[in-house]
């Protein structure tokens, strides 16, 4: 992830940044403490449902009794100490009964189930997995998507050619959608650099900013110029995609996604 403030591409979460991503990286970044024990959480779920869910809600987000996901006690307790005491003794003054019959293992299971609910809420690195089926659903009209495709895309793309099986390649509709709107890996840019002498050299761009241009030509030779001394013509592979960006309605993108998802 990008922490230097180069704003291209803008990976800006909250105050910019957000860890190296994924479940573990985001957890580390957020300082969420030890990861919950998934096996214990699974064992604890039915015990939680049987004993706690009626008041605290099925996913512990509260009901008649407080939300346990945003609970100060749960968020602070790393070793089941406070949670254990609370379950065993109850909180009679607040109307919470005691559960003296639950074993230490039961309490650990409930505690880890609650920690898992915290994890699934606070650790956005888990969202990709949790919501993968939601992100895989298409909602558009594939027929209208095909019409849009034929009117706008066939100059460069073909459903039977380069995009055959694209729906199988990107089973997550949300990813397919982002990919067709703006392909994120168009490959290295190609450019032609023309020096003041009129000499032109084409090649793969290694560096191109306000001050420097560097290419590797087809023979593998490296070339460098100060930016202000040459003309640079960059091949724009994404011109068609760029031209469509201001034209899309949300329905258009959903329809095209639904159509592309049928190409399997």
């Amino acid at each position: 992830m990008i922490f230097i403030l180069v704003l291209t591409p803008p990976v800006l979460m909250a105050q910019e940044g957000g860890g190296r991503g994924g479940r573990g990286g985001t957890r580390e970044f957020l300082g969420l403490g030890p990861a919950p024990d998934a096996a214990a959480a699974k064992k604890g779920e039915p015990i939680y449902i049987a004993n706690c869910a009626a008041c605290h809600g099925k996913t512990a987000r509260g009901g008649e009794a407080p939300d346990l996901v945003r609970s100060v006690v749960i968020l602070h307790d790393e070793k089941d100490e406070e949670i254990g005491a609370l379950i065993k003794n109850g909180r009679p003054e607040a109307g919470m009964p005691a559960f003296p019959g639950l074993s230490q293992e039961d309490i650990h299971g409930i505690s880890q189930f609650l920690k898992m609910q915290v994890e699934l809420t606070a650790n956005r690195g888990t969202y990709g997995q949790t919501y993968s089926s939601l992100r895989s659903q298409t909602s558009g009209d594939a027929r209208k998507g095909q019409d849009f495709f034929e009117a706008n895309c066939v100059a460069c793309h073909s459903a039977a050619g380069d995009l055959a099986k694209i729906g199988a390649k990107f089973p997550q509709a949300a990813i397919l959608q982002s990919r067709f709107i703006w392909p994120s890996t168009p490959g290295p840019a190609h450019a032609t650099v023309t020096a003041k002498s009129g000499q032109a050299i084409a090649g793969t761009v290694l560096r191109l900013d306000d001050f420097d241009v560097a290419l590797r030509d087809s023979s593998g030779e490296y070339h460098y110029w100060p930016r202000d001394q040459v003309q640079v013509q960059v091949e724009d592979k994404l011109g068609g995609h760029r031209a469509l960006l201001p034209k899309y309605s949300d329905a258009d993108i959903h329809n095209v996604t639904s159509y592309l998802a049928t190409l399997k």
Binding site: L5, R61, L208, F211
Partner: protein, 531 residues
């Protein structure tokens, strides 16, 4: 006793370190950079002109200081200087998360270093220290408000001011106003409630706390929330230093996005005072007025970007103004005496997430452009058009400068339940994004000029303008001086990393310095041969 600078005829002396009277609205004395933004206005404009358009090509690295021996920081990688160093009595004070450094400004030699052990919180950034007398104030990421002796870096005391276990974290440079040390908090992951605190400079005890959301149903603005629970978990973080007008005795502060971040269904309404600019009395914390930049925010658009104060003549009338380039992609100009709006105009895209503006000039969010399960696209980057890096205003050009991003983005709703928690969704897709240095007309909000990047490279860090008719910021991995009038590049110097903080300037022994942080290294520039 050392004379530091003159304001009018009064001589402010610094036998006891930094007198809070050293901070003024628009005067940034040459020999000191006493607070995060230099002066109280947040303009980041310096009257110094020893370095100017006629000699800027002579600017050379005088010294550099590289942070050593700390290594990668938890979850964020190598140390990155995002703080603006304070310069007082020839000593620079700057920070990274968990660490404070004191450096001899003449030589770049380290005088002392304060280290705080990592006990949680987010190490995403650290904006610097505040100073009052001989005392420094520093926030460790895990919610400790620490006071140090500036002479030796020894800890005087520390106070717990935010609970990192609830996912609060603290990155702010404390701001000093009279005998108030103002500190704000960050935190998005667990739906906590934002607040701003004023604390005593000697004891660290709480003087007042202002909450970003109403306390209870029936209180002012509680009709912008459905219930108490939504207010209790509504967000509105206060993580960047504000600005202050001593004459009006008003503090201006930006507040962060509402929570849950992307899922707005359990917090129907405008959600005051999240994603707003608020004007507060610094002695009481009492709210004077507010302007909401992103009502009912569902895109993580913290509105903490510096509310910049300046005076200008509008339609023949001298006006006291406040301007902000907001993360929601709009530029706002307000009358800072009362919050009345003069300009509301998008600078990135067409502002198509809004249906227009209301009677107060606040954008009206379009429900059709809120995050959706199948994605909703807007014509600006989903995660915002700008962020914390400091903007600048030059009274010479009457232009407002900011580093921002253009392009298209898409936002998704994940948690569709009636009571979502946490982020509840996400911003995705950076479609055709490009960064740019914007120069905005304060009377119309129109873009006067723009230095735009396509492909590789990009602008970085904050901006400073000077009376030498120079604008300094990061560009293409270099420190660059632009002509603030038209965006021409006048000078550039390659650094070891991209510029990562807001550049600053001051004079020492008659010589003007430019100071900038790039990754783990602080650079000092002076005119070659002008000792």
């Amino acid at each position: 006793m050392k004379t530091l600078f003159l304001i009018g005829t009064a001589v402010l002396t610094l036998a006891q370190g930094l007198d809070p009277k050293a901070f003024s609205l628009f005067k940034l004395p040459g020999g000191v950079w006493p607070t995060y933004n230099g002066d109280y206005s947040g303009r980041r404009f310096s009257d110094l002109d020893q370095i100017n358009q006629s000699n800027v090509e002579l600017l050379k690295i005088e010294w550099m200081y590289r942070i050593q021996g700390i290594g990668p920081q938890r979850g964020v990688g190598n140390p990155t200087i995002k703080s603006t160093p304070l310069l007082v009595n020839g000593v620079l004070y700057f920070t990274i998360p968990d660490h404070v450094f004191a450096i001899d400004a003449h030589t770049g030699e380290r005088l002392w270093q304060y280290d705080s052990e990592d006990h949680g919180g987010h190490l995403v950034g650290q904006r610097g220290v505040g100073m009052y007398g001989n005392w420094l104030y520093f926030m460790s990421p895990d919610g400790w408000f620490v006071s140090l002796d500036s002479k030796n870096g020894k800890e005087r005391w520390k106070k717990k001011v935010a609970d990192e276990k609830l996912q609060y974290f603290t990155t702010i440079a404390p701001m000093v106003v009279k005998n108030h040390i103002l500190i704000g908090v960050g935190g998005d992951a667990m739906d906590v409630r934002g607040y701003l605190e004023s604390r005593d400079p000697e004891t660290g005890e709480l003087q007042w706390r202002w909450w970003s959301t109403p306390e209870k149903v029936g209180d002012q603005a509680s009709d912008t929330w459905p219930n108490k629970s939504a207010m209790d978990h509504g967000g509105g973080m206060t993580w960047l230093p504000g600005t202050y007008d001593p004459e009006l005795n008003l503090l201006y502060w930006g507040t962060g996005n509402a929570n849950p971040v992307f899922a707005g269904q359990s917090r129907k309404g405008a959600n005051l005072w999240t994603a707003s600019i608020v004007a507060l009395n610094p002695d009481t914390g009492k709210l004077a007025w507010w302007f909401q930049a992103s009502p009912h925010d569902t895109h993580d658009w913290d509105n903490v970007e510096t509310p910049v104060l300046f005076d200008a003549v509008i339609d023949g009338q001298p006006r006291k103004l406040l301007a902000q380039g907001a993360r929601c992609g709009w530029f706002f100009v307000l009358d800072r005496t009362n919050g009345k709006n003069l300009v509301s105009a998008p600078f990135s895209g067409t502002g198509n997430w809004a249906k227009g503006v209301d009677a107060k000039g606040q954008p009206i969010p379009d429900p059709a452009k809120e995050p959706k399960e199948n994605g909703s696209m807007i014509d600006m980057p989903a995660m915002g058009a700008t962020n914390w890096p400091p903007p600048s205003y030059s009274p010479q050009t009457e232009l407002f400068y900011l580093n921002g991003t253009e392009g298209y983005g898409i936002a998704y709703l994940y948690d569709t339940s009636d009571n979502p928690e946490g982020y509840g969704g996400g911003g995705g897709g950076n479609f055709d994004t490009k960064s740019a240095l914007f120069a905005l007309d304060i009377r119309t909000g129109k873009i006067k000029w723009k230095h735009e990047h396509t492909g590789a490279g990009g602008v970085s860090g904050g901006i400073m303008t000077t009376a030498g008719k120079l604008l300094f910021t990061g560009d293409s991995g270099q420190l660059v001086a632009f002509d603030p009038a038209d965006g021409r590049i006048l000078w550039h110097q390659r650094l070891s990393s991209s510029v990562s903080n807001g550049p600053s300037t001051w004079t020492l022994d008659g010589k003007q310095y430019i100071i900038v942080g790039a990754g783990d290294t602080l650079y000092a520039f002076t005119l070659a041969g002008k000792k």
